[in-house]
């Protein structure tokens, strides 16, 4: 469905992404994992051409994305921003309707679709006339997801969508996202620095370090045979937490 070939981005002389290649098949969710500054966001943005790559190509359904004009390409791809990115001067409904109005949907159909996606992300009707500033962080992020879903995109790109939320809210949103994804059969690339989140949500995980791709594989594959100590260390944290938790539970049971 989507193929990234030898993608490289230099900011001046500094390489942010170096020679990254991977593929995501239809209906699959790939998590892009790595420490802060390793080039995850840059990689994601080159896919919908918010950033133009220095070299390399991105193919979606076999078509080179550089053949389309940027804004047309982006209208067909849902994007959830790391920092919320809802428009503060618009209501919840207006925000969600933006991609549809850009595609020229007529008003009645647009209204129906906006109601549908807001229901999908569990935003109750009472909130729909509010401005983003009048919502909680979790609600804002749900609206962000709804906006990205509104135009029924072939592909979703999510940049640490739940990174700034408290653990309870994050858990709720993760589960509801999983449910939505199953229901819609979404193809998605999901950036996170949290390996636990990646293990829980992703079909496959791509690990990055210093702009390079270190390993790509299913969660079990990574756990069974980490490619190097970077991957090992990333997996270490969830493992240690799980072990500590198990011991604690065992203590309680005794």
């Amino acid at each position: 469905m989507i193929e990234v070939r030898r993608l490289t981005k230099l900011f001046g002389d500094a390489p942010a992404v170096r020679d990254v290649s991977f593929a995501v098949s239809a209906g699959e969710l790939l998590a892009l994992v790595g420490g802060s500054g390793c080039g995850k966001t840059t990689t994601l943005r080159m896919i919908n051409r918010l950033i133009e790559p220095t070299s390399g190509t991105v193919l979606i359904e076999g078509q080179d994305v550089s053949a389309l004009s940027g804004h047309v390409l982006r209208r067909g791809i849902g994007y959830v921003f790391q920092r919320v990115g809802l428009f503060p001067h618009m209501t919840v409904e207006q925000n969600v309707a933006v991609p549809l109005s850009l595609l020229g949907w007529e008003a009645g159909r647009m209204r129906g679709r906006v109601g549908e996606v807001l229901e999908l992300v569990e935003i109750e009707p009472a909130l729909r006339q509010r401005r983003p500033a009048e919502l909680s962080g979790g609600q804002q992020q749900r609206v962000g997801v709804a906006r990205a879903l509104a135009a029924e995109p072939k592909l979703m790109l999510l940049d640490e969508p739940f990174g700034a939320l408290d653990p309870l809210t994050r858990d709720r949103l993760q589960r509801s996202f999983l449910r939505i994804r199953k229901r819609l059969g979404l193809t998605a690339i999901f950036v996170t620095h949290d390996m636990v989140e990646a293990l829980l949500l992703a079909d496959r995980i791509a690990v990055m370090k210093d702009g390079r791709l270190v390993q790509v594989g299913a969660p079990q594959q990574l756990l069974a045979s980490p490619a190097d100590e970077v991957v090992e260390r990333l997996l270490d944290t969830p493992r240690r937490q799980a072990r500590a938790f198990d011991e604690l539970m065992a203590g309680v049971a005794r």
Binding site: H71, L73, R75, Y79, F81, G85, F87, P88, L102
Partner: protein
Amino acid sequence: MSEQLDLLPGYLTAHLQIALVALLVGITVSIPLGVLAARVRWLEQPVLGLASVIQTIPGLALLAIMVPLLAAAHLPSIGYLPAFIGLVLYSVLPILRNTVTGLATIDPALVEAARGVGMTPRQRLVRVEFPLALPVIIAGIRTSTVWTVGMATLSTPVGATSLGNYIFSGLQTRNLSAVLVGCIAAATLALTLDGLVRLVAIGWERRRHGMLGVALGALALLYLYTGVTLGRELVQARQERILVGAKTFTEQYILSEILAGQMTHETGMAAAVAQSLGSTVAFDALRSGEIDVYVDYSGTIWATLMHRETGATNRSDVLVEVERFLRDRHGIVVVGALGFENAYALAMRRAMAERLSIRRISDLVVHAPALSIGGDYEFFGRAEWRAVRETYGLGFAAQRSMDPSLMYQAAAQGNVDVISAFSTDGRIAALDLLILKDDRGAIPPYDAVILASARLQHRHPEAIDALRRLVGTIDGDTMRRMNLAVDEGGQSPGAVATVFLDALWRKP
């Protein structure tokens, strides 16, 4: 006071016509310019720099400078146009600067989000950046509104009627209530407009549609009123109207009203007065046909336009030469002399003159190095002053420029010792000042003469005839009395002119 309030509808309408239209044009110019400057980075500094430079020019100077610039471009250089252009230039900076700032300070994450959902640059501007910058832009519009409405009072000296007519003529004729009415009206108008724009902003931001509707409706009505009255005046301007010029002092206000009243009375044509024109502005305006008639003084033309070295010359010789000069060189018609002279004259306190035994300028020469002299803004730059200085070898300890309306009081109170008085000013006698005899004839005679454009004579000889009936009807005492009635008696120039004309028309 009620006489002042009668003038309010006319002045207020004229004020709105200049300020509101200038503001509208200022907004439509500066917002796109601001967007452009925010987009094209290298444009930002030059554009903002230029607007700031314009802003540092004092308001009065900015408007005044339009007069020669427009004249050089062969455009109407007095009246609406110079005031309008000056105000537009002045209104630009706050809006421009706030547009640039408003757009530049938008959270880049939001601009990214707009790109991310697939907006084109234009959609980004219209749907996201501009609405987000709008509160800042509106703050700029509010600043500009207050400035423009306030500065529109400075339209008066370039020949456009405004609330400034109250202020300028009130200051000249020492009519404090006129000045107050003008200031209060201008301030109230500025605050009202500012308030309406503020309501529009609040209504829009908080989505209070009622408030938004009312405020926008009120603004729309004001613009509608302005547009309709302006349109009607443009239509009327096509039909003919005679425009009488007046320089910036009491006597000129009175005479312009007399000229206008006389022509209307005898020809039935509408005649209006363009008040408070600078001395050379009035002459240029007559020459270019923007005003049709005004009163000037033979000696002024003799000294400033003909550059004659003065010397003992008699009144009729000067009149004849001035008349020939104006006709041959400028195509201006001298209708005739009104019958009095308003000469530049040196005056001082009578008591002081007697103590020092000064009666003639020659007597002043030995005392001058210990005395100070005050003159109106023009005096020390004029040929007459040079002539006096050179003829008598006068040198004062200090010289001060001041407003002519304050000059006499300053002399009477001893703030200055000698002043360049106007010989018809009633305050010379009222304040017990003594005019010093020009014993060596350094100052030319100053017959008040009615000057008219060749066009008026050609198109409306009946108006010239009407004016000719005024020739020789005003002697020095009459003029002094009328000046005093305004300056000290608190009457308006219009009322004094009416009394004079009534008496004139009753004569067989």
